[in-house]
Symmetry: D3
Subunit: 183 residues, 6 copies
């Protein structure tokens, strides 16, 4: 356990690349992003219908970026399919190394998140973008960075067919005073 947490010691100093590269100074770290996402998951998951396993979703949120404690954050939408695939495989291997000796359940959760197939993974993936766009809202209010691009990139508003996620994106556009671009 000690070893596992020490392996993640620098996770709180790795900047979210997408924000750093767009001029946000003192940007959110991967650890802080994972915290906000896990909290959001715990708030939203109980409202899903059909119900999802809240603890599984929360745990996915807590671990979804951990391998980047070794690779650093690689920003979207960089990279072709081949690069993305190799990166995913690399991350699965790294995750396996970090969680070596822990319950196998953790590796299953990480794999499920990577595949994005189960309802919990879909929810966490949708909320991953919700958290990001709320952060964009926060930075824009503070005059930090050049973030227009985030609003143009459709992938940032993918709701995975989950109504509560869709509503959150609607709220975000409303709060920002922006019109949601047509599908």
């Amino acid at each position: 356990m000690i070893k596992l947490l020490l392996a993640l010691h620098s996770f709180d100093r790795i900047p979210r690349a997408g924000f750093l590269l767009r001029g946000v100074t003192e940007p959110e770290s991967l650890a802080a992003h994972s915290h906000a996402l896990a909290l959001l998951v715990c708030l939203v998951a109980p409202k899903c219908s059909p119900p999802v396993n809240v603890l599984d979703a929360a745990r996915m949120a807590l671990i979804h970026d951990l391998p980047e404690a070794m690779t650093m954050d690689i920003p979207m939408p960089v990279g072709g399919a081949a690069f993305r695939k190799a990166k995913t495989e690399e991350e699965i291997a790294i995750f396996g190394g970090i969680f070596n000796g822990q319950d196998g359940e953790w590796k299953d959760l990480f794999l499920k998140f990577q595949e994005g197939s189960c309802p919990e993974a879909a929810l966490v993936r949708g909320l991953d973008k919700v958290q990001m766009m709320i952060k964009v809202l926060g930075y824009e209010r503070e005059g930090r960075g050049r973030l227009e691009e985030f609003w143009q990139h459709k992938e940032n508003f993918r709701d995975y067919g989950i109504p509560v996620v869709k509503e959150l994106f609607d709220d975000i556009f409303r709060t920002a005073g922006r019109k949601r671009p047509p599908e």
Copy 2:
């Protein structure tokens, strides 16, 4: 929901006071601390006997410092009993404000953590110190800060009578190559 997360927008830039004040540069933020603690809780809680509610413990970890998004982190062991009591009351009020409109369960969880009575709260409080001491280990290896004091302060090793927490403290001393001070 958007409003709640925007209220916590700066949580990722508030430094852990205890580390900052002892010369750790680029110290862990409150958000990063909460992430590491929640992860640790999810790893350790299933090993508790009698069993604890893992999701409740994880949620406590995610929210336990949130009011400090308004008050900033106030380092231990500063403050007499009166100040600590007033601070706790203030934090409960702030938490209520932030989670206004959310399920009442959240306020219950926060109160239970403050009281420290239920098994989940005791676990999270014990692991709060475990996470802190692992962080100290990590900083010491990197030559960051003057952290000797952390090892002298008994409150930093309180295990709340939970065997798995006690073992973690033993491991920490072993990893540090230090002898645990006699009770």
Copy 3:
């Protein structure tokens, strides 16, 4: 003396909470704030009528935030009356600890500032806000942070009935191109 200054060693790394929480990156430290305030006091105090003790006012400015070297900066307007009162008592105790062994005059100056009764304390308290609002002006010109709130909060423009302070607030509004809100 050495011990006293070492106790304040981290004072230059404690960020002003009000600025940090509103998205100002690399915000003023408590030490820098205290420097600017002391300088402002030395410039303004000689213009007061009836005259004030300039050295006493300058010394108050230099020490008014020192206990926060232990508690970190707790931002206004957080906290109810009970919390504020407990905080003040705590700060007086901390100050006593830091200045233990120094001339008792220093503790008197700190107490007088906390009470805010004598003319010097009133002047320093008024200029504390003047300095803060000039800093807001500076940050706004540089596009740093979301500081509108500062202009709405009446307490930020309290002049304690001192004409020279009132004039400075008038100047600040003029420089900002803003209208002063009616009393």
Copy 4:
């Protein structure tokens, strides 16, 4: 030209991952690394025998990390062969995008560096590690980070059969007061 430099605008804020992850605060940026490497190349290249093209080598140094302005720095020795290969292909594509419209010679230089076949590329690759280890020396003198690992990793001292590079590694070990591990 303007577009090209604007595309690299954030290059000066991307931290060298290997240093960040080992606890070096305020680590060298990719831009600063590239500057030091280019300077080193200009100092060393004229001493090579058989002679190398100094300008080509200098230009390779200036551009060798530019695609990481998009991907961020991915630290060694992370990643299996497949990941590294995909990353290289990605970087070549990104470089092509950035230098689109510039003389084709630049893409040739970048490819040659990636292949590492020509004498200039071998020199720059060797000096890339020389510069890194001098940086390690500098950080260790300042007590910044946990860098022991750098001295254990043989790849960090690969001289590509170039005598002047080998001598520099010898000098580095001498300056550090360390013994070079046997091949």
Copy 5:
């Protein structure tokens, strides 16, 4: 060589003063500036007519600010002629100290740059400002700092009679959507 690079170890942490003083947080370092300038020189120099020595120009770019590793960056337009002259003499002495034991050619290049007489020096001096103004463009897009002053200061657009430099300044004004002030 090792000694020379260690002497420049802090060059990557010295902020460009002109940006820092105008509220740009996390500003470009001297090392990053020198990297971008050297790259720009390598891109532009081959287009000069009559031709210039590209390698000499690149080397000038790499070293032009090195003495400021000792003196820190002193911002323009501070300082009268006497101060500037004394500063230049000081920098030449410092440069001589750093490059002591290296080929005398380096000192010649540094002197030539200081004098600004040869075509390579004129090109590097012109591009020094081009790089700076592109940086201003980048910061302005990100809402960082108060940079209007840069556009008003004619010295920032001096092209030394070199057509390709003049065109770059024209491009910069075009990209910024600004009108170039009449000579």
Copy 6:
């Protein structure tokens, strides 16, 4: 007044060059240094015999580095006599510009400090080094930077023949567990 403080707006972000260049991350700013010095002056000045004007000494401390808000901090012992002289003249001119419109007394105080002749100036100059060495003590305890050089440079312990300053240097050596080098 507003204009004067706005001119000094960046004073709190200018790092003390001597610390930055020796690897101290997040070093003291000029503003923080000036605060600590002014406080130290107020604590020590009343103990001087023959008595000094405490307010004058405090004001000198508050302003002694202000022109560096324009020039940035230039570290000692860089620079020959000619450079130092030109720098002093430049700073006097800058100070005059900043304090234009203020009571002439301020310019007198600044000149007196530069000349170092009057007892107040001697005291402030001595304590300037005392504050610096206490800072060195603090950084060394925290493992920040490579500061040995500070202890070797005799100018750092010049007491200007003032007993109370001499005693402070003695205390500093005692606290550091170092022997004072023979005169």
